[in-house]
Symmetry: C3
């Protein structure tokens, strides 16, 4: 049910955004009970004119390795589950892809369960 | 009032996303009382590294013809209206553009009516 | 805390979208109490096949200079604050970049304060 949008700077490695997305997907399965195979993502690559970030808002030092992750998902996760999701995404992106933890930004947009159709014109969760 | 984002694979037909968008617009007018001319859309074209979908989540067989449609709109539509919207979009995309019904994914994001300005710096619906 | 997405037609001026974004950022600081340095934006450039707008919905005459601004931000701003934001963005885009006021479209998506991580895997506002 989550629809994930990932924005990052254009880099030399083709498929890099996809690798980030796989880690985000697995973190959602492991921390907020997203079903297996529920993996739908849109990735965009940018340059410095189209991906804008502040280099130290809240005292966090960001770099051009910044990754903006916006996840639309069903409402109802607890604050603790959301915190576990953020921590797991940042930790695994660091451990598996050497992305700086400071460069991982995440935003959740919550919707009702009847707000999805996964194919065939049917509201599968309603 | 809806803002529609459509993501699809890059294909040989220029303007194909625009045709999809016109069908989505007419389906919204016919099923959920979107006003005539309220037609604003952002389309993005992708390759397999930037548009990620699961090929059979919920037992629905999807292909590279997948179309992800995210609609931001005013809150308040009933579940039945949403179901009619999904069914109509999938049916018409199939009938008019030969898109597989399994390949049509839709997500709604609902907002308050004062969350829009359609020009001139005015909140026309507030 | 706001994440701003700006869509506009591809033009001859590199960095034009970024300039628009800076004005949107400053308007948010001045009208809806967005903190200084809270500046995160994703800009996309389009042609007539991928940015669709109605040329006179609600009697407002729009042109290819249209700018679609979607802002995800914390819930809780009053209607008056939102109106001030819309008016200020449209006025300054006109005054500073000669953008037609009719071409400025804005949409707000509101989320809870625990729905953000600005780095390090932490929910800084929760």
């Amino acid at each position: 049910m989550p629809l994930v949008r990932i924005a990052l700077m254009k880099g030399p490695h083709q498929g890099y955004g996809r690798k980030i997305g796989e880690i985000v997907y697995r973190a959602m399965v492991d921390t907020i009970k997203v079903p297996h195979q529920d993996h739908f993502q849109i990735i965009s690559e940018h340059d410095a004119d189209t991906l804008i970030y502040d280099p130290d808002y809240l005292g966090i030092r960001r770099s051009d390795g910044v990754v903006l992750i916006q996840i639309t998902l069903n409402e109802g996760r607890s604050v603790d589950m959301k915190k576990a999701l953020y921590a797991t995404i940042a930790e695994r992106l660091h451990d598996e892809l050497a992305i700086r933890r400071e460069d991982v930004l995440i935003n959740l947009v919550e919707v009702k369960k009847e707000n999805w159709s996964f194919g065939n014109g049917v509201a599968q969760y309603a």
